[in-house]
Amino acid sequence: MTNSLTMDTPAERRRLDEMHQGLVGEPLDRPDGPLKVSGRATYAHEWNLEDTAYGVLVRATIAKGKAAIANRAEIEAMDGVLTVLTDNRFLRNPAQGTAGEAPVQSGLDVEYFGQPVALVVAETFEQARHAAQAVIFDGEAEADVPFDPEAVDPEEQEDETVDQGDLDAAMREAAHSIDAVYRTAGHAAAAMEPHCSIASWDGDELTLRGSYQMLKYNVAELADALGIDEDKVRILSPFVGGGFGSKLGISPEAVSAAIAAKALGRPVVVNMARQQVFDAILRRSETRQHVRLAADEDGRLTGIGHEALVSNAPGEEFAEPVTQSTHFLYAGESRKLGLSIARIHRTPAGSVRAPGEAVGMPVLECAMDELAEAAAIDPVELRKRNIPERHPEEDIPFSSRKYVEALDEGARRFGWDKRNRHPGGLVEGEWLIGHGMAGASRVNMLNAAEARVTLSADGHATVETDMTDIGTGTYAILSQVAGEMLGLPIDKVETKLGDSSFPKGPGSGGSWGASSSGSAVFLACEEIRKAICERLDCEESDLTLKDGTATAGNRSLPLADLLGGDDLVGEGKIEPGKTGEECAQATYGAYFCEVAVNRYTGETRVRRMTGVFGAGRILNRKTATSQCLGGITWGIGMALTEELVHDPRDGHIVNRDLAEYHVPVNLDVPQIDIVLLDERDDAASPIQAKGIGELGLCGAAGAVANAIYNATGIRVRNFPITLDKLIGELPGS
């Protein structure tokens, strides 16, 4: 029995609010927590299959051309070496998120410096690593290869273009206007667990233990890459040590491990070294963004321009959707939005946490700060004045939107009324103090999802889906939804994830995981509730389930008695529908930040940060808060330190490890204050939840940048704002 729902009409009946167990929304501890804190959770590398051989990938050291191994015989003769593999099925780079088919497979044809082109397999890791380091290529490097995104003719992305009204005229006639070019650096996801796969074959059936976010797509991608049927591939990813987009699609280590394991007839593990993860896993594109804002005397926008240049490798469809939230966040009759892509031979680009808004929103929000300054209007008030009634380009209504509430609540908690009002004017010893704010916005999406829930004869429930928990809290929230619907205490519900043989989940990506898979579990439970009603011979609306007891009218029965030895199984399936097209769905928020900038060195310290977010129904306040903490931490990194640096000669990533690519450390991040607003979005999902995994990042760096401006009077339009960009212009320097 599958209970299917296509989201064609808003879910006005808020059934989760009618339930009695009181689990949904509660800040429960993660059920997987004890395994994680005691080192017992099994991540990809941690299965210890008998007789596993170790594979180490070898990277190309040319940017474009044909690689050839010059010393294959010598490598093969090294201690412990089992094979040196090159294969036309090897992936050039990971599949893009939700591709569902193999990415470019280029064997020894190299398209970027660092592309994995060979795999050395040996008895031990030490032998494999040593042999891999001894490989010598005598590849032919091509000349005149483009590496600089601003030095090539870009391709325009037609479907991202909006040209409405007359922005040039609006700019000419504006009482206040901003016309600025911003740049953001490329970013690495840098999930703490490197990409790793263990492949093992049983006849023609492949089991891959890997670190992946979206198993239903990954099975299809891996099968396609290997040229085998999907039903011969099983992927296990019960624990994923961080993803942030970098594990959306099947990546080079998986395919090479599978090919090697088949060739050797034994399990092969391929764990990418940190440097290889930087080299060969999809990066976030750097951007160049031209922003124009035209406003009347009162700061009301009459025009918005946001045109971005991003890059990717030839043949990759993905283009960082920089202007995604600019389309609807603010009013303005005249609009010119565009996205162009430069084809270059750097490491290919793809989705990194909050693709689009992560870099587009901070820039838009910095430009709004510039406008507030120019028009002498409180930045909070400027934003509130420009919130449109309807989608300014598509003329459709918005679903639930908590932008004003977030701005107001954030301003109140932070003490925005006491902010520094004189850029560069607030000094504490050697520190310049500044305050800044920014809005947050991220489009909301639902993705097709299935789940199975079994209510066992003894009265406990099991949730099964191939959905993953990449740190997002899926284990917790799906148990909470099931426990709520079935009236079970949380310790009577178990959630099993990350096995592609389970019903197909939506995958962890695009912030849709919780609302989509939560909805599938909700629907599966509705099916079980129906079956319980049949047994009780009651109407569904008369049924109360709480603490393992079913009550209808004046009858009350423990579930175990009611089941009489039977299991009840319900399957749920959700699909996106018309509510996704008929109204604009997004999540909103606001950030407020206090920085101290050293007046002699230009070093910036973030001293305080408040984030207020509205993301529909919150399924677990603890894990949702953590998602926001993580997002803001990323925002601090983007604002201050994170930057992929490419060698201009061959495009290679110079800072390809965690010592040189600077993610925030503990002392870089203050105790962040997070508020989750109470919200239900009926158009978003039958559980009224929206996505929250990325929202915390979508504008955060803008708040930091605006605070730096407020502290120093220096407007840096080039992220990250490292001290070299401030030091020459600091007041008094």
């Binding site: 999930a191 040590g241 961080g242 803001i632 490890d657 503990n666």
Partner: protein, 168 residues
């Protein structure tokens, strides 16, 4: 090469390539996969273990250098149902997300508390003498060798603060 490793109170005879790091010995040879490999270069702290009570990046040292020393890994600090105070506090405060940096964080925090007790100053200590009070900034600084890409720092500090409070 034969090495006698004493880990979490058990003795293991390791016969491995001399190039084997302590981290790889634990993970690949001894089935102790609680210690994580985030970078293999001493840059992230995910592999932190305790050697004679002091924290060390196990990826930066060879197994054969630790013959006879007392090694404690995350598995030795506690287990589900019997978690150490820090482990339990990390669960309660959601001091993690994906959990991959977590064993390193907890091993590191375990040793860090002892360092503070013994009066070790840090970069942010006002005073080089006397026992430093572990406020949020002291904890953050002393834990800055353990990266958390999920960005759980605020909650990690809260978890450690709770344990500091319980000990006081």
């Amino acid at each position: 090469m034969e090495t006698r490793l004493s880990i979490n109170g058990d003795t293991h005879m390791l016969d491995a390539d001399p190039r084997t790091t302590l981290l790889d010995a634990l993970r690949n040879h001894l089935g102790l996969t609680g210690s994580k490999k985030g970078c293999d270069h001493g840059q992230c702290g995910a592999c932190t273990v305790l050697i004679d009570g002091r924290r060390i990046n196990s990826c930066l040292t060879l197994a054969c250098m630790h013959d006879g020393q007392e090694i404690t890994t995350i598995e030795g600090l506690g287990e589900p149902g019997n978690l150490s105070p820090l482990q339990a506090a990390f669960v309660r405060h959601d001091g993690y997300q994906c959990g991959y940096c977590t064993p390193g964080q907890i091993c590191s925090a375990t040793a860090m508390l002892k360092e503070a007790e013994q009066g070790w100053p840090s970069y942010v200590s006002d005073d080089l003498d006397g026992a430093p009070a572990l406020d949020g900034e002291e904890i953050s600084e002393r834990m800055s060798g353990n990266l958390c890409r999920c960005g759980a720092y605020s909650n990690i500090v809260d978890a450690i603060t709770q344990v500091v409070g319980e000990r006081a």
